[in-house]
């Protein structure tokens, strides 16, 4: 079933037309990746979905309900959480406080301590390292651990759809592997649907089911991840296989 349906969204930064009639969809339990150069509009799509940068027009349907006019907190409540680029953890707070803040709306809904505690345990199972460091200040964590924390914090809201922005940025290859393994486990074990923006297109495509290629705010390709890995235009431009040449005779 279609979980998210985006039709013809247009997003602007002032006068700059950042997304031009972008349409995309995610089915339940799918991992979909957005690839493209810097400034192509990948992050803007995530920010448009979470209403951090509201769309000017177009439709966003989440489980059949229009959400493009809703406030960010309402969207989180409906089940969409974003892990922002550069982690954005609250550095002066402890790991556990960071995680609990992720459940803020659930506290407000008076869901009860026990349920939130259970979620916390789930996150600690997913990232044992966070449990070890639960009393530590987030600012003292390594980059990889901060990324885990950012993902964990988003998961505390128990999202159906997770928006992940550049989770591998600035991390060592082994740490990236670890984080990607967790993302795979999220869809497999918890049934979370994932929209992934990644600079590391190759790793993202290996993990994802499908992908969209963006260029200057437009979608230029929609294919299965396997096809995108085989697509030589994609290889050339985003997988660093050859120098970029569009045409030769």
């Amino acid at each position: 079933m279609e979980m998210l349906k985006v039709k013809n969204i247009n997003t602007y930064y002032g006068q700059v037309h950042a997304l031009k009639n972008v349409s995309l969809h995610l089915r339940q339990r799918e991992i979909v990746t957005l690839i493209g150069a810097n400034g192509a509009g990948k992050t803007t799509i995530l920010n448009s979905l979470s209403a951090v940068t509201p769309v000017r027009n177009g439709d966003i349907l989440f489980e059949g309900e229009p959400i493009h006019a809703l406030a960010p907190e309402r969207i989180v409540e409906l089940g969409i959480s974003q892990v922002p680029e550069g982690r954005q953890v609250f550095k002066p707070l402890t790991v556990e406080d960071n995680l609990e803040l992720g459940a803020y709306l659930r506290y407000r809904r008076r869901e009860g301590r026990a349920k939130i505690r259970a979620s916390l345990d789930e996150i600690y199972q997913l990232f044992p390292r966070l449990r070890e460091r639960r009393r530590q200040l987030a600012g003292t964590l390594s980059g990889g651990e901060q990324q885990m924390l950012a993902i964990g914090r988003a998961l505390m809201a128990r999202p159906k759809l997770l928006l992940l922005d550049e989770p591998s940025m600035g991390l060592a290859p082994l740490v990236v592997q670890e984080i990607f393994a967790v993302i795979a486990a999220l869809t497999r074990d918890m049934g979370t649907t994932v929209l992934l923006v990644e600079q590391n297109a190759k790793a993202a495509l290996k993990l994802a089911d499908r992908g969209y290629v963006l260029e200057t705010g437009k979608v230029i390709l929609e294919e299965s991840a396997a096809e995108l890995l085989e697509n030589r235009e994609v290889q050339r431009a985003y997988l660093g296989k050859e120098k970029k040449e569009i045409w030769e005779r």
Partner: protein, 433 residues
């Protein structure tokens, strides 16, 4: 019955339309970016691909014709550099330059899967032995069906065209269960079996997938009766991909168009206006997933009608009726495209021929025949037999080399061919439709 890709073939229409829109937007953006011909055409009309929000917006885009492909011969319509192309095919190319199409690695995969869909829809499974009687070569028919059959795991016999007795021998010996080829060749096989005293019912044949030329339901009945098989129709054209655009399921109430890969429109061939659903008109196709040569609103020249009501097989894809002929005057003779214009060109070059001619096309013993009746000057018409014979031989030879199909020339006395007001009736097609 099995469905090869039930996720896509049975998709709720609403989800299908979303997928089509996404792929259409991506295709238009990419074609505009990578294909000069499209960029120029869109710019001239002031159309900006990124403005497209619906299928209605597609109607503003110009048509692509065979002529566009010829003008951009050979690689001008390619959206990828040649080094990314792993296969090149071409249409028969009977008029002037042929049209060239390319496939990337992904295109070949997509093609295989789409043909796998139509084979599965016709009831072919991995247990079948598939004999392919299309000619291998630049023509897309044989390779398309070949890959599709391999994709589903059937055993493929790549016979190629012709050599009828050997085909029959192999069919007996290898216990072929599925026959692939043109419908007229199926009847040629039936004729030959009759002559050889072979009862088709003693063979293992059970299903036939026929395409490459228009054929009637009467012909279907004849094939089914004589070969003792189920005969299904499928549709495709090399400019758009080859076979694998549409195929019949066993309900046999039209060919399911693989709409997640192609957008189909029906237009009035004269005005170019899009006609409401259910109208008879010319089929126009836009590719949604082709990497190497995307085509936008390609005029197929095939006349048909689309049905959108749900098929009993469970597929949600629209169905197209058997094609009812061509919107232009192209003739398909023995599977070869023939334009009256080509014949005219040849006749004009032969001294003694007058610019009045008529083509009589017929199907005798299931073989297409073409007779070219041409008016000649009195000196030739009343010339001695030997010279007249030599003259006919000369014209026939030139026609064969221009058309790639044999024909018979008949000389007619000057002014014997009926004249018409306005457009001449050049073609008399006696084949049953």
């Amino acid at each position: 019955m099995d469905i090869w890709d039930s996720i896509h073939e049975c998709m709720p229409r609403e989800e299908l339309e979303q997928l089509q829109l996404e792929r259409l937007q991506a295709t238009l953006n990419r074609a505009y970016k990578n294909v000069t011909c499209y960029r120029r055409k869109f710019d001239e009309l002031g159309i900006i691909p990124e403005d497209v929000q619906s299928f209605d917006d597609l109607r503003r885009f110009p048509f692509t014709t065979k002529e566009d492909l010829r003008l951009n011969y050979p690689y001008g319509m390619f959206a990828v550099p040649l080094r990314e192309v792993v296969r090149i095919h071409s249409s028969s190319g009977t008029t002037g330059k042929p049209t060239v199409v390319g496939y990337t690695r992904n295109d070949i995969k997509t093609w295989s899967h789409l043909v796998a869909r139509l084979l599965t829809a016709a009831g072919v499974t991995c247990d079948d032995v598939v004999q392919i009687t299309f000619g291998y070569g630049l023509f897309t028919g044989a390779f398309g069906l070949h890959y599709g059959a391999e994709q589903i795991g059937a055993s493929v016999i790549p016979m190629g065209g012709g050599n009828t007795e050997k085909q029959i021998m192999i069919m007996q010996g290898y216990r072929t269960t599925a026959l692939v080829g043109t419908p007229s060749y199926a009847l040629t096989l039936a004729d030959r079996m009759e002559k050889l005293g072979i009862d088709p019912k003693s063979l293992s044949l059970r299903v036939g997938l026929f395409g490459g030329e228009p054929w009637s339901n009467e012909m279907r009945r004849e094939i089914e009766q004589r070969l003792g098989i189920i005969a299904t129709d499928n549709y495709g054209l090399s400019e758009v991909m080859g076979p694998g655009v549409a195929g019949e399921c066993l309900e046999r109430c039209g060919m399911h168009i693989f709409e997640d890969h192609f957008i189909a429109e029906i237009i009035d061939p004269d005005s170019g206006e899009v006609l409401p659903p259910g109208s008879i008109g010319e089929l126009v196709l836009t590719t949604l997933t082709k990497e190497a040569v995307p085509v936008i609103r390609f005029r197929t020249r095939d006349i048909t009608r689309l049905h959108y009501d749900r098929c009993a097989c469970g597929r949600t894809l629209a169905r197209m009726e058997k094609t009812r002929g061509r919107s232009d005057d192209m003739l398909i003779i023995k599977g070869v495209n023939v334009f009256p214009m080509q014949i005219e060109e040849v006749l004009f070059q032969v001294e003694g021929c007058e610019p009045h001619y008529q083509l009589v096309v017929d199907r005798i013993d299931n073989v297409d025949t073409l007779e070219v009746q041409v008016e000649v000057s009195e000196t030739i018409f009343f010339d001695e037999m030997k010279k007249q014979r030599a003259f006919i031989n000369l014209v026939e030879k030139r026609l064969v080399s221009a058309l790639n199909v044999g024909c018979k020339v008949k000389l007619v006395e000057s002014a014997k061919i009926p004249r018409h007001e306005g457009k001449a009736q050049r073609v008399i097609d006696r084949r049953k439709r």
